[in-house]
């Protein structure tokens, strides 16, 4: 096997995605090291969510390769990537509406963690533990429709964590939340990172991204225009131009 540079957890090489004639992503290179906290920013329509969808197998990309723990992910479906340890949360929470909060968290345990077997006392305990971690322990028997917006975000993160990922891609987990709620979710993501999970955070709230990220990656119109230390990246003239105009 070709030497994977510094044993990157995620290695994206020359990834390209088109929708018809529209180039959504062009020649994206990205490396994420184990344990890292990476912020991914970019104006609306810059291709952030498309990149996430390509990484997670929801969309197929025409060009380039994605390697996870050295393994080429080409041809692997979304559920297979989840089982490998690549989890995501959705931009708009997408809970399983007919299942209780606890059952929502149970599904990845049954399908991504356990090779076989049904719901047991052990899986129920694990659900309670995960819900406790995000502060939803007392809501476990409720349906998702009874949750508030922030609780829904927490459920989304708990469900992503339930698959015991090595890499978590949090797609705008804080959009539309209040100041205090953003801090809540931030603390949660930092705790997950401390527990050993590598996190890619996609976010518009600059305060949160700058606080969280060790490294910042900027996408503009489907191209990566900056990648480096957050404070340097935000002073990059190209980045300023993309966000503030000429």
């Amino acid at each position: 096997m070709a030497a994977v540079s510094e044993a990157a957890l995620l290695e994206v090489r020359a990834l390209g995605k088109r929708f018809g004639g529209f180039v959504a992503l062009e020649a994206i290179d990205l490396e994420v090291q184990p344990g890292e906290r990476v912020g991914l920013i970019g104006p609306n329509g810059s291709g952030k969510s498309t990149l996430v969808n390509c990484l997670c197998g929801t969309l197929r990309h025409e060009l380039g390769t994605v390697r996870f723990e050295g393994r080429n992910l080409a041809g692997l479906k979304a559920h297979e990537r989840t089982r490998l340890g690549l989890a995501r949360s959705f931009q708009l929470p997408r809970p399983f509406g007919s299942l209780t909060v606890a059952e929502n968290v149970l599904v990845p345990i049954l399908y991504a963690v356990q090779a076989r077997g049904n719901r047991t006392a052990a899986t129920d305990a694990r659900c309670a533990e995960l819900l406790g971690m995000v502060g939803l322990a007392d809501k476990s028997r409720k349906l998702p429709r009874d949750l508030t917006q922030i609780e829904m975000r927490k459920l989304e993160l708990a469900r992503a964590m339930a698959s015991e990922p090595r890499l978590l891609i949090a797609d705008e987990a804080m959009a539309g939340l209040s100041h205090g709620e953003v801090d809540d979710i931030l603390a949660l993501l930092l705790r997950m990172n401390q527990a050993g999970v590598t996190v890619i955070m996609i976010e518009h709230i600059m305060r949160a991204v700058l606080h969280f990220s060790q490294r910042l990656v900027v996408l503009v119109a489907g191209r990566k225009i900056a990648d480096g230390a957050p404070q340097e990246v935000v002073r990059n003239p190209e980045v300023e131009r993309a966000y503030l105009g000429e």
Binding site: T58, L106, R159
Partner: protein
Amino acid sequence: MSTGKFLPLILFVAALVFGAARWIDNSYVFFAGYVVLQYIVLATAWNILGGYTGYVNFGTPAFLAIGAYASVALYKLVPLPIPLLMLIGGVLSGVVGLGTGYLTLRLRGAFFSIATLALSVVVQTLVTNWDFVGGSRGAYIIRPMTAPLIGGGYIDYLCLVMLLLAVASIVIARAIESSKLGYGFATIRDDEAAAEASGVPTLRLKLLATTLSGALMGMAGAPLPYYVTYLDPASGFSLTYAVNSIAMPLIGGTASWIGPILGAVILGTVQQLVTVTISSAANLLIVGLILVGFVIVAPNGIVGLVRGWRR
């Protein structure tokens, strides 16, 4: 209750039902009972795909008729015992279910439903033009006078076979519901992208649901020619099957295995009563009215209504 404990219980209930019918000793009870039991199977089978995974299937007649016409064809070649015919009909319909699932897996909502409706039309056209099984003229089956094994009228035997199939489908549906598979099906119904992201192999599960649902419908269709003794495409592919197998789970409640049974027993019995007392044509009118009533009063069926009271 585990499946191991549930099986003896439901077999006991089935034995009671059959014993009571034998005690009444009126062949009409068996004629009417067969139809109700057939609908328990069809409604339960429909619910595995439509209720659990949320894919609304209008193609019940196709799967039922594949089982039925397999029996007609075999009757002309080598007459086989009914249980064997059911097995063959089940395999054929299961394969068609698998194929349908594979071809329509990208279709969601109304588009999937339209595809299944089309399947019904395609299969009906094929059978209508297949001379060996009677084509549009239909086919006659000469039913033996007495039942094998249990004695009495042959209809008793058909009814018993259908009763056992109903027990089997209920046990299967109930086992799915309380297992990992049940959760997987529910996630497909709720949000397929989120299901994939949670590690659920949605394609494989959908194919499993279409195959299982189709196979059970095919098994229910296999004894049909022996029941009606004359089968033509117009009756074999009757829209009644499609409407009933959707209406029954909706009225009973799609969330639980007991819903389709309640719906089939209530609606099936009412239809049988109306057929002999008022008119056989009023059947579907009754279904329509009850369905409209339930959609307004209890959109989640009887099961939903009861769960609402308990809260």
